[in-house]
Amino acid sequence: MSVLKICTKSFAASLGRQSERSLKKIYRISSSFRTFSTEGKLEYDLVVIGGGSGGLACAKEAVAQGARVAVLDYVQPSPRSTKWGLGGTCVNVGCIPKKLMHHASLLGEAIEDARSFGWRIPGNAEIDWLAMRDAVQDHIKSVNWVTRVSLRDNKIEYVNGRGHLADANTVVATLHNKKEVLLKTKNVVVAVGARPKYSTAIGAQELGISSDDIFSLEKPPGKTLVVGGGYIGLECAGFLNGFGYPSTVMLRSVPLRGFDQQMASMVVNEMEGRGVNFICKCVPESLSKTLDGRILVKWNTTPGASGGSGQGEDVFDTVLFAVGRKAVTDSLALDKAGVETHRETGKIFTTNEQTNVPNIFAVGDVLHRKPELTPVAVQAGRLLARRMFGNDKTLMDYDNVATTVFTPLEYGFVGLSEEESEKRHGPENLEVYHAFYKPTEFSIPQKDMSNCYIKVICLRKEPRTVLGMHFVGPNAGEVIQGFSAAMKCRITMEQLLDTIGIHPTVAEEFTRLTITKRSGMDPNPQACCS
């Protein structure tokens, strides 16, 4: 039995009045600003511009050290009008949704593999894009909320506004309703991260999407062209292909530029084997709408390149640009404080996260020449806050940071690539151990193991310090993580080979390495347990 506590007529009448005023919203500025006018000034020890991985870690640690802190966060809508909540790139349009979609994609494969293990599975597994997207977005929203609650619990002032500098000690926050709030502060940390670039092809911005949009796309992406061969492009093409959407990757030059190229080629081979189409050494020239609402893309050979797939055109449902990310420093008015940035990338020059202006610092993706990774931003932000407000003098160590590319067959590594090792030490001073291996679980479903490969680069001279460890295979992130701790301890080849493996795993392959590239012997696996 329901109890109606309202009179429908009077309610409708009041709504009518409301609608006369065009459903005018009532502005509620967060409580702490209620006592301030637009000329109001607020005093802080630290204002962090950017509520992402780096900014929040820095803010929380600063508060723990006794500082009075405010965090500004604001998301400029993408060209497709996509927006999101507090937490930065990682939580909303990066690591988290990427890993979830990658996992969702692999689950589809697992369902098929299950049959060979005896599972009776009726029918064919098909992805419901909207159901998957909603599940992912729900999780993101719960993280947005937890982040927000956590800021409040930590007594950090949160301002949902766009920040810029008026001078080295004044941050101006522009709120949704265009009102401005001035925050006077002793220190500033810039942690605004970066946003996807678009190609200069005609129609790119109007018809293309980016990683900002893919994780909340309102309809299934269908036949997709991913422009860009970096990890974002490959990861997206990978999970889209896994969901059953025909995917093509267009590479301007090489895949995973700057990464170990031999490992990159394994990753690409695997994707090709799974049906991803690669267009090499080409750039898109134009995008245009077809009569039935799809996108016609015309491309040509990259200027100055030779070989490659050559000129062509095709029709797609979705075109995703993953051609690099630009630091969001343009609108910060950093020049008002004299902070130096890179002319092209917009990234900030820092030494130990300090800019050329003594009280202005930066962490995260906005830094010039530092790894663009969440754990790097978090650690750097935390250590910075301790140096600023605590007694700890520890500096951030950007070396030997492990990372993983979450393509269908994952690539995890820590340390130097073979190319970088050769550049720094010379090939004659290196020993490269390598092996192909066969994951036990791949045999029964007859999965392709031809790209399951590992490589360890070490110095030839005693104590044969390990310079780099590279792994292509399942669960690469889990496999490599522990080894990065070993690298931090400067593990030697002897110590690595002296380690007893866990059997049967794929990680144990690192302890079974015997073949070097120099020996010329066959790195393919012989028997299993010998």
């Binding site: 039995m1 329901s2 109890v3 109606l4 506590k5 309202i6 429908t8 309610f11 409708a12 009041s14 709504l15 009518g16 409301q18 609608s19 006369e20 065009s22 459903l23 005018k24 919203k25 009532i26 502005y27 509620r28 500025i29 967060s30 409580s31 909540g85 729900d138 999780h139 929203k141 719960s142 947005n144 909320w145 927000r148 609650v149 409040r152 949902n160 709120l175 949704h176 309703n177 265009k178």
Partner: protein, 151 residues
């Protein structure tokens, strides 16, 4: 001003939601958008509170619900977006303790505790347990659910 309905089951809840949506569509100032209810989610938010039934003395079997009651009432009066609708679902102790209770199992809710307040049809963000008695948390919740937009 917010309006409030009180129901005792999922069917009644669904009926109440439909009722609110019909009313707001009738008076919506943009007739061209009648085909879908997307804009109503933000123009006319519906908040759902799942709580414990009260006994003859008006006391709930659920202590957190009891604590949250006056705070939620205050929040509805002074903090809720205007206009908005509230629907409180009252569950008996037996209903809620049952692991198969529809509010635990239905994909639209998947509640793990009461009281819970959420904005229809989202699962996140939501206020749970002690948060429902925390006026500051409720303020943040309304901010997150119904972000201020420019005129």
């Amino acid at each position: 001003m917010a309006v409030h309905q009180y129901v005792n089951s999922l069917q009644e809840l669904e009926a109440a939601i439909e009722q609110f949506q019909k009313i707001s569509m009738q008076v919506s100032s943009t007739p061209s958008r009648h085909e879908n209810t997307e804009h109503l989610i933000n123009d006319f938010p519906i908040f759902i509170i799942v709580s414990g039934t009260k006994d003859k003395k008006g006391v709930s079997w659920c202590p957190d619900c009891e604590k949250a009651d006056p705070v939620l009432e205050e929040a509805e009066q002074s903090l809720a977006p205007e206009p908005s609708a509230f629907i409180t679902v009252y569950l008996t102790r037996e209903e809620w303790k049952n692991p198969k209770n529809v509010f635990r199992t239905d994909g639209r809710f998947r509640l793990t505790s009461i009281p819970t307040m959420l904005k229809w049809p989202n699962r996140e963000p939501k206020l749970v347990e002690a948060q429902c008695a925390d006026i500051e948390a409720i303020k943040e919740f309304f901010d997150e659910c119904c972000p201020q937009v420019q005129d």
